[in-house]
C-alpha cells in the first residue's frame, strides 16, 4: 500500500502541482479499505484506480492547484521578488565597481563581433526579398557533367532560355541578363570601367527597381542605356542625366534614356548601367537559337507560380533535349535546376556566379569565429564571479539561513549576469557602430550590407544579450546555490576547498586555450598576409596585363595584340591566375 501511495502522490503532483490534497488522499485510503473489507483486494484496487483517475482529471484538483499557485508559498515569477533581485543586483554591481567595469568591457568587446555577425546574418536573410513576387522568381542553373565531374553553373545556354521564353506555358515573367558589358568612360583623365548588364525591358517586370525618369522600353533600342542614380551623380553631378550621351572607349556613344531610383542595397544584382541586347551585334539569332555550349555570362530569371513550377521545369527539360547533341560534341551533358531568388543569399557559390553571393559555409565559419571570440569573454565572467564567491559567501549564507531556496539564489545571480550583459550590449552596440565601417571596407561585397541599426535589430540584440547573460550566469549561479550555509557563515569559503573548482579550472583552461589560439591565429594570419604580398609566385608579375575577352574571338585578339611591337606575348585563361574567382 505504501508503494501505491507513492505512485498516487506522484500522479497527483504531476497533474496538480503543489495542490493540497491531504483530505483526498485520506478519502481514497478509507474507500479502499472499506471496499476491501466488503469484497476482495482486486476489486478494491480496481475501484481505487477508478477513483484516482477520476480525481486526476477532476475540477477539484484543478481548482486546488490554482489555489496553491496563488498562495503565499508560491514560488513562481513574482514582480516584487524580481524587484528585490534587481535592487540587490544593482547594489552588488555598484559595490564591486572594478569587477563590473572589467566584465562589461570584456563582454562588450566580445559581443560587438557577435553583433556584427548577427546583423550580417539578419541582413542576408532579407536579401532580394523586396521584389514584390520574390518567392516566385527563380534563376535557371546548369549542371554540367564532363568526364564524370559535375559543376553547377549559375548561367544557362541562350538557346535554351530563349526557347523557354516562347514555349514554357504559365511563365509569368522572364528576363535574360548578360553581364559581359563593361563600358569604359574617360572622366577627368581617369578611365572608369563601369559594371554593366545586357538585358531587356523585362528586367523591370521581374525585379522591383523602378525608374526615376525615362522609360524602360527604350532599352530595346540599340545604344540606349539606363543608369543608376549613383552613376548619374558620378558622371553628370547635379545636372539631369536623362538624354545625355556617354562617350565610351569601347562601346561608342551611349544615350542615357533612363535613370533608376536608388534601390535597396540588399540584392545580389550588381550593376551601374544597363543596356539592351540590341546594343551588341554578338547577340544575333545564332546566339539566341543555337548557342548550347560556351554559355558563360548568360543568365536567365523566370517568374512562375508555385504550383506550376514542376510543370515549367518539365517543359524546360523537354526543350533541353534539343541541345543534347551540341553538348555531346564537346563531351558534355547537362541538367537544369531552379534556384529560388531568395536563397541566392546566403547560398552556395556556383561556377560563373552572377552578381554578389555570400557563401553560406563561409558565413557559418564567420559566425563560428564570432562565437569563439564571445566564449572567452563569457568564461572570463564566470570565472571572475566564482572567485567573487569568497566575498559573497556571507550574503549567500544569510540568504540560505533565512529560508532562501536554491532556485532563488540561482535566480538572483542570473538577474545579475543578465543585467551585466544588458549593460554590455549597449556598449557593444556603440562599438558595433564604430567598427562596422571598418568591417564593410574589409570584406569583399560587404558594401551590399548596410548594418543599419533598426528597432528590430536592437530587439534582436536585446534577446541576444538575454541569452548570453543566462548562458554566462548559469555556471556561477549553480555554483553559488551549492554553497553550504554553514560553511559560508563560519569562515567564508576557503580558497582551494571549493567543491566544484574542477569546473572552474576547466573553464580557465578553455578560456586560455581559446585566447592563445586566437593570438596564434592572428600571428599566422599576419605572417601569411606578408608572405602573400611578397611571395615569389614563379612568374614575373611585372608588366603583365589582364584583359577580359568580352566575347571577342580569341585568335583575332591574339593577332591584333601580337601585331603591336610593344606586346611580347599573349595567353588565355578561364580565370585570372592566382585569384579564386
Amino acid at each position: 500500500m505504501r508503494r501505491l501511495h507513492k505512485l498516487t502522490q506522484l500522479l497527483f503532483h504531476l497533474f496538480g502541482g503543489r495542490a493540497d490534497i491531504e483530505d483526498i488522499l485520506g478519502d481514497l485510503d478509507e474507500v479502499y479499505y472499506s471496499s476491501k473489507e466488503r469484497s476482495n483486494t482486486v476489486v478494491a484496487l480496481w475501484h481505487y484506480w477508478r477513483h484516482v483517475f477520476s480525481l486526476l482529471l477532476s475540477y477539484s484538483l484543478r481548482r486546488r492547484a490554482k489555489d496553491a499557485a496563488y498562495s503565499p508559498y508560491y514560488r513562481g515569477p513574482n514582480v516584487s521578488i524580481m524587484k528585490s533581485y534587481l535592487k540587490v543586483s544593482i547594489r552588488n554591481l555598484k559595490q564591486q565597481k572594478t569587477f563590473t567595469v572589467l566584465n562589461v568591457l570584456g563582454l562588450s568587446t566580445g559581443m560587438s563581433i557577435a553583433l556584427l555577425a548577427l546583423a550580417m546574418f539578419i541582413e542576408l536573410q532579407n536579401f532580394d526579398t523586396f521584389h514584390p513576387h520574390a518567392a516566385e522568381i527563380y534563376q535557371l542553373n546548369t549542371k554540367v557533367i564532363k568526364d564524370g565531374n559535375t559543376e553547377v553553373f549559375a548561367s544557362t545556354p541562350p538557346a535554351l532560355t530563349y526557347a523557354a521564353d516562347a514555349q514554357v506555358t504559365d511563365l509569368k515573367n522572364s528576363v535574360h541578363i548578360n553581364d559581359d558589358f563593361f563600358p569604359v568612360v574617360k572622366k577627368a583623365g581617369n578611365e572608369l570601367r563601369l559594371r554593366g548588364l545586357f538585358t531587356s525591358p523585362d528586367f523591370f517586370n521581374v525585379f522591383a527597381m523602378p525608374l526615376k525618369e525615362g522609360s524602360t522600353i527604350s532599352l530595346s533600342e540599340p545604344g540606349n542605356v539606363i543608369i543608376t542614380e549613383e552613376l548619374a551623380t558620378r558622371l553628370f553631378g547635379e545636372d539631369t542625366a536623362l538624354g545625355k550621351v556617354i562617350e565610351t572607349e569601347n562601346w561608342g556613344s551611349l544615350q542615357v534614356s533612363g535613370v533608376m531610383q536608388t534601390y535597396p542595397k540588399r540584392t545580389h544584382l550588381r550593376f551601374e548601367i544597363l543596356t539592351g541586347f540590341e546594343t551588341s551585334p554578338s547577340f544575333d539569332a545564332r546566339y539566341k537559337n543555337a548557342r548550347w555550349t560556351n554559355f558563360r555570362s548568360n543568365y536567365y530569371y523566370l517568374r512562375v507560380a508555385d504550383d506550376k513550377k514542376a510543370l515549367a521545369m518539365n517543359q524546360i527539360e523537354q526543350l533541353a533535349l534539343q541541345g543534347k547533341s551540341a553538348m555531346a560534341q564537346e563531351n558534355l551533358s547537362a541538367a537544369y535546376q531552379l534556384r529560388p531568388l531568395t536563397t541566392i543569399n546566403p547560398g552556395t557559390t556556383m561556377e560563373d556566379e552572377f552578381g554578389l553571393v555570400f557563401d553560406q559555409q563561409t558565413m557559418w565559419f564567420f559566425f563560428g569565429i564570432a562565437l569563439l571570440i564571445l566564449l572567452p569573454a563569457c568564461f572570463n565572467y564566470s570565472n571572475l564571479s566564482i572567485t567573487r564567491a569568497l566575498k559573497r559567501a556571507k550574503e549567500i549564507g544569510i540568504r540560505k539561513v533565512i529560508g532562501s531556496q536554491k532556485k532563488q539564489i540561482v535566480e538572483q545571480f542570473l538577474v545579475e549576469t543578465v543585467l551585466v550583459s544588458l549593460i554590455s550590449v549597449v556598449l557593444a552596440t556603440v562599438l558595433f557602430h564604430l567598427i562596422r565601417a571598418e568591417f564593410i571596407s574589409m570584406l569583399v561585397g560587404a558594401s551590399a550590407l548596410s548594418f543599419e541599426i533598426t528597432p528590430s535589430l536592437l530587439g534582436v540584440f536585446g534577446a541576444f544579450a538575454l541569452i548570453t547573460g543566462i548562458f554566462t550566469g548559469i555556471i556561477p549561479a549553480a555554483y553559488f546555490a551549492k554553497i553550504s550555509p554553514l560553511a559560508a557563515m563560519k569562515n567564508g569559503i576557503e580558497a582551494g576547498k571549493v567543491s566544484i573548482s574542477g569546473l572552474r579550472k576547466g573553464l580557465l583552461v578553455v578560456q586560455f586555450s581559446l585566447t592563445l589560439g586566437f593570438m596564434m591565429g592572428i600571428g599566422v594570419l599576419a605572417k601569411q598576409y606578408f608572405t602573400v604580398l611578397n611571395y615569389q609566385t614563379g612568374f614575373n608579375k611585372e608588366n603583365i596585363l589582364v584583359l577580359t575577352l568580352e566575347d571577342h574571338h580569341p585568335e583575332i585578339v591574339r593577332n591584333t595584340f601580337l601585331s603591336m611591337p610593344e606586346v611580347g606575348e599573349v595567353s588565355f585563361s578561364s580565370s585570372i591566375p592566382g585569384t579564386l574567382c
Binding site: 472499506s34 482529471l57 481548482r63
Partner: protein, 108 residues
C-alpha cells in the same frame, strides 16, 4: 445566489445534512452509494463539493489528524444558510408541483 441546484448537487447537500458533523469525502460517497445505490467516483464528488463551496452552499474545514487514514486529516463540510434556503425553496416547489399534479403520482 449563484446558479441553480442540480440534481446531484441537491443529493450531495442533503446527504451532508444527514451526516451532520461527520460529513467528509469518503463518508458522503458511501452514503450516496448506499442510499441511492448508484456508483459515483471520488473525482465527481470532489468536483461537485468544490463547485458547491464556490457557489457558497458549503463551508469546509480540516479536522484533526486521526490514527486511521494514515494520519491524514479529513475535510468536513457543513451547509451554509444559503444552502438551507435553496434546499427549502426546492422542496416547496416540489411539494407545490406534487400537490397540483393532475395524475395520481403516488400510485404504487
Amino acid at each position: 445566489m449563484k446558479g441553480f441546484l442540480g440534481e446531484f448537487e441537491e443529493l450531495v447537500l442533503l446527504t451532508i445534512a444527514n451526516l451532520g458533523n461527520e460529513a467528509y469525502g469518503a463518508a458522503i460517497l458511501e452514503q450516496i452509494e448506499q442510499r441511492a445505490s448508484r456508483k459515483i467516483s471520488l473525482g465527481a464528488l470532489h468536483s461537485t463539493l468544490t463547485r458547491l463551496e464556490e457557489k457558497g452552499f458549503l463551508n469546509s474545514k480540516m479536522g484533526e489528524p486521526t490514527a486511521t487514514r494514515g494520519g491524514r486529516r479529513k475535510r468536513y463540510f457543513t451547509l451554509t444558510g444559503t444552502a438551507v434556503v435553496a434546499l427549502g425553496n426546492m422542496k416547496s416547489l416540489r411539494d407545490e408541483l406534487w400537490s397540483g399534479a393532475n395524475f395520481n403520482l403516488s400510485a404504487e
